[in-house]
């Protein structure tokens, strides 16, 4: 009887632990859209992936967060990369409530020099950045320097992200 009671208590405790772990907002993304180091030729992932819930997005992009919130952002993941040890870039993946939200952000930011690219559901490239959407995801990749390799390297990284979405 006593043994049975202890087993029951352990089972309950285990259930509580699992439930608690799920409920504490563990900062792991449900999916990982970030290519690992060397998965894309020349690119190294140089930081941990950080994930921000909508309510915490201001901690990452205070002042910019509102436009994503109004478009229905659910969470944002970000990671840094380096190309051939020199060119630094950041990949932001915004998971929106629906595809319309991703579309809204993509269209809002476009300027005349945007070059349409066949990537995801829609995408544009500039010399130092690539922005595209796929389903409910909106991806922005920016490079911090302009080198002769930058546009092509960014595009390769973007394709790597797109393949994982």
């Amino acid at each position: 009887m006593k043994l049975c009671s202890m087993k029951s208590m352990l089972a309950v405790a285990a259930i509580i632990l699992v439930a608690a772990a799920a409920g504490t907002g563990c900062k792991k993304a449900k999916f990982d859209p970030f290519p690992a180091s060397a998965a894309i030729a020349g690119w190294e992932k140089t930081s941990e992936t950080r994930v921000f819930a909508a309510k915490d997005l201001w901690q990452y992009i205070d002042g910019d967060a509102e436009q994503y919130l109004s478009a229905g952002v659910v969470s944002t993941s970000t990671s840094d990369y380096k190309y051939q040890g020199l060119l630094e870039a950041t990949v932001d993946v915004y998971t929106m409530k629906d595809a319309a939200g991703a579309s809204k952000i993509l269209e809002k930011g476009q300027t005349k020099d945007a070059k349409t690219i066949p990537l995801g559901d829609a995408g544009v490239a500039y010399v130092q950045s690539v922005i595209f959407r796929k389903g409910t995801s909106l991806v922005r990749i920016v490079a911090y320097e302009l080198t002769p390799d930058t546009p092509q390297a960014l595009l390769a990284l973007a394709h790597g992200v797109e393949a994982k979405l």
């Binding site: 205070d62 436009q67 010399v127 920016v142």
Partner: protein, 331 residues
């Protein structure tokens, strides 16, 4: 057109209050007015600040800083100029802005140039705190966190924390960073010029969002009147007395984050004490650039920086936004 030497003469002949002491016990050698009742703002430019590959030339940054400060103070020698700006024996805070991330944050080259001149003017390394909201923002500026008190300290509000008791003015109630309230006797404001999705423009006054715990609560109505209210809080109004604005790089749209497709290099520093006048001049620079590339005005796109007008009103009285009352020195 006046040359730099003329400006130096003019500044030297103005009502610069040598040796005066403010109620905070600071050097108080500055006079925000040019001797003619106008607020003085210096815009110093160097078209060759960035090389052909877009890299910042650090030696030219130091020279540009010296030129800006010399023009503002009327003192050709940097040591003499800086002695008129900062008190000796007090802790000086340098409030940078790293919110936009790497690529559009206050440049480390400017921070280092200022630190060098501060030390030459007699400020000890341990009396200098370079400061932002958190470690990530500091790193975005190209700086490394350091809390060793024998050296120049570089750390964020995430280390020092915020006051428990909020302070209020007008529409806002905020908890201030302890670095501001407890550590610094004087703060030199080092914002970076940017377009801002909510406020229209972020520069001198808006950079104070980095000294409160929950800045995202101050974004309603294009940050108006929150920006003006925030700058009226006595600790901010009295301690943050001088601005060396980084306009070496800027984004004219899509800010405050880094948007390389909207990046532009004004190659300038904007210096002054009247935070409203500084923001008015900065706003005009953004508008001119937007017009140059065929973009609508900030008013046209629904985010005019009305907080600048509010900051100049009788309730706030933080400075002037009247061009006739601003003595703009372009050097």
């Amino acid at each position: 057109m006046k040359n730099r030497r003329d400006f130096l003469k003019e500044a030297a002949a103005g009502a610069v209050l040598i040796g005066a002491e403010s109620k905070l016990g600071l050097a108080a050698a500055l006079d925000p007015h040019a001797g003619n009742g106008k607020s003085k703002v210096v815009v110093a430019r160097d078209p060759a600040l960035h090389d052909a590959s877009g890299q910042l030339d650090e030696k030219r940054v130091q020279a540009l800083l010296d030129r800006a400060i010399a023009s503002y103070t009327g003192r050709d020698k940097p040591v003499e100029a800086w002695k008129r700006i900062v008190p000796v024996g007090k802790v000086i805070g340098l409030k940078v802005n790293g919110l936009g991330g790497k690529g559009i944050s206050t440049h480390a080259a400017l921070v280092l140039a200022i630190c060098e001149r501060l030390q030459e003017a007699g400020v000890k390394p341990g009396e200098i705190i370079v400061w932002e909201r958190d470690a990530r923002s500091i790193q975005a500026c190209g700086l490394t966190v350091n809390t060793d008190p024998s050296r120049i300290r570089v750390f964020g509000n995430d280390v020092a924390g915020y006051e428990d008791e909020p302070v209020a003015f007008g529409t806002i109630s905020v908890k201030l960073a302890k670095i501001l309230t407890r550590e610094c006797a004087m703060v030199i404001n080092l914002p970076i010029l940017k377009d801002h999705e909510m406020a229209g423009v972020t520069f001198s006054m808006k950079n104070m969002y980095g000294v409160v715990q929950r800045p995202f609560e101050l974004h309603a109505n294009n940050c108006n009147p929150a920006v003006a209210d925030l700058n009226c809080i006595p600790t901010i109004r009295e301690k943050v007395r001088f601005t060396i604005g980084d306009a070496m790089s800027s984004v004219y749209d899509g800010g405050p984050g880094f948007r390389p497709e909207r990046l532009w290099q004004p190659n300038a520093l904007i210096v002054g004490e009247d935070r409203v006048a500084l923001d008015h001049i900065a706003w005009q620079m953004i508008e001119r650039k937007r017009a140059e590339v065929g973009m609508g005005t900030l008013e046209a796109v629904g985010r005019p920086p009305r907080y600048i007008v509010t900051a100049a009103d009788k309730t706030h009285n933080l400075g002037t936004n009247d061009p006739q009352s601003i003595h703009l020195m372009e050097v």
